[in-house]
């Protein structure tokens, strides 16, 4: 009996320990789900009011961290010859991420190709997800830093 209680006590301690250490789960998910009604929407970085006619020809900037429904992301923007040549997710934290495990079969991955092909200029990105919104915010923040408008 004493053994059982010791074991149970230790189990409860470990259990409580990890739950307490980790903090309450799923916080960021519920926060952003409520975003449309409340002011918890990620603040708009920078003020896109003034317009500089041209940005730098070559530069790199990292946008601010933006919340999206399952974590936090920030986007790195690389500009060459007045063009966005690379968008990289610089930092991404998720609660968990099976999606990164997704194998890609027939779906093309256009990344290096896009960069090599300087003839292709991406004007906008589509993808109706929470990520893309955070992505858009962060890109805009990075662009604002570079005054690339």
């Amino acid at each position: 009996m004493k053994r059982l209680l010791t074991m149970l006590g230790a189990t409860a301690a470990g259990f409580t320990g990890i739950v307490a250490l980790h903090g309450s789960p799923g916080k960021s998910g519920s926060l952003v789900r409520a975003a449309p009604t409340t002011t918890t929407t990620a603040p708009k970085p920078g003020a896109p009011t003034t317009t500089a006619p041209s940005g730098p020809s070559n530069a790199t900037a990292i946008g601010p961290l933006e919340n999206y429904s399952y974590g936090v992301m920030s986007v790195k923007v690389v500009i060459a010859n007045h063009r966005i040549v690379d968008l990289k997710v610089q930092k991404l934290q998720t609660l968990d991420s099976y999606s990164t495990q997704l194998a890609t079969y027939a779906v093309p991955i256009l990344k290096a190709e896009v960069l090599k092909a300087q003839g292709i200029r991406i004007n906008a990105i589509t993808g109706a997800t929470y990520t893309s919104e955070a992505y858009a915010y962060s890109i805009q923040g990075a662009l604002d830093k570079l005054r690339f408008k």
Binding site: S99, T100, P108, I125, T126, L143
Partner: protein, 247 residues
Amino acid sequence: MITRAEPVMGTVVSFLVERDGLADDAVEGLLDEACAELHRLDDRFSAWKPASELSRLRRGEVTTPSALMREVIELSEIARAMTAGYFDPWSLPGGFDPTGLVKGWAAERALAVLAEGGVAAALVNAGGDICVIPGTTYDVGVQHPSVRDALCAVIRVDAAAATSGVYERGEHLCHPFGGQATAVSATVVGGRLAIADAFATALAVGGIDVLDLVESTPGLEGFFITRDGVLAQTSAMDLGRDRIASA
């Protein structure tokens, strides 16, 4: 090129405007107007704002809907018919919810503000729902459903494009490959954005059945990526691979 990013309707709406002889101030003024239009529409059609006309309609407090509301209801009926019911704002819990179409429709109205003000070339991107003033073609990257910093297609948009499906584990989904949706990414190009938006949602849910509908609808093309990583597209859908390879 003048840009702006406006947080509204629970997302970010970004604008690309070619000045083409217009004064910066004039363009900025038009952008202010376009953004104001978006906020007005958000106030009226937000399902989250208790005082919006939509919320009151859902609570049964509206007897005579406004002209704008009647337009949205009519568009919703058209979209439901065109998508064979795969897009159905009346099937959602809590009553009529046209949110899946309002964002695209509002973006079109914002774009109209710019066009009427004399802008010849502009793009409005409402969180992935994209419309452009006809006459200019824009290259739009479609985010890869699983590789975060890559695209899976570069499509040419001369009217409208919308993507649906959930890349991250969004609220409709609990699992990597799509949960309740058939497709992890579904894109529809062409036509009116409000309709393309509705079709993209339908395509994400209905998969190949809806792709057949897209194929048979003149002016619309589309593709979707299943949770198994298989891409299916309509016959004239241009994913940009050839252009990129040859560029």
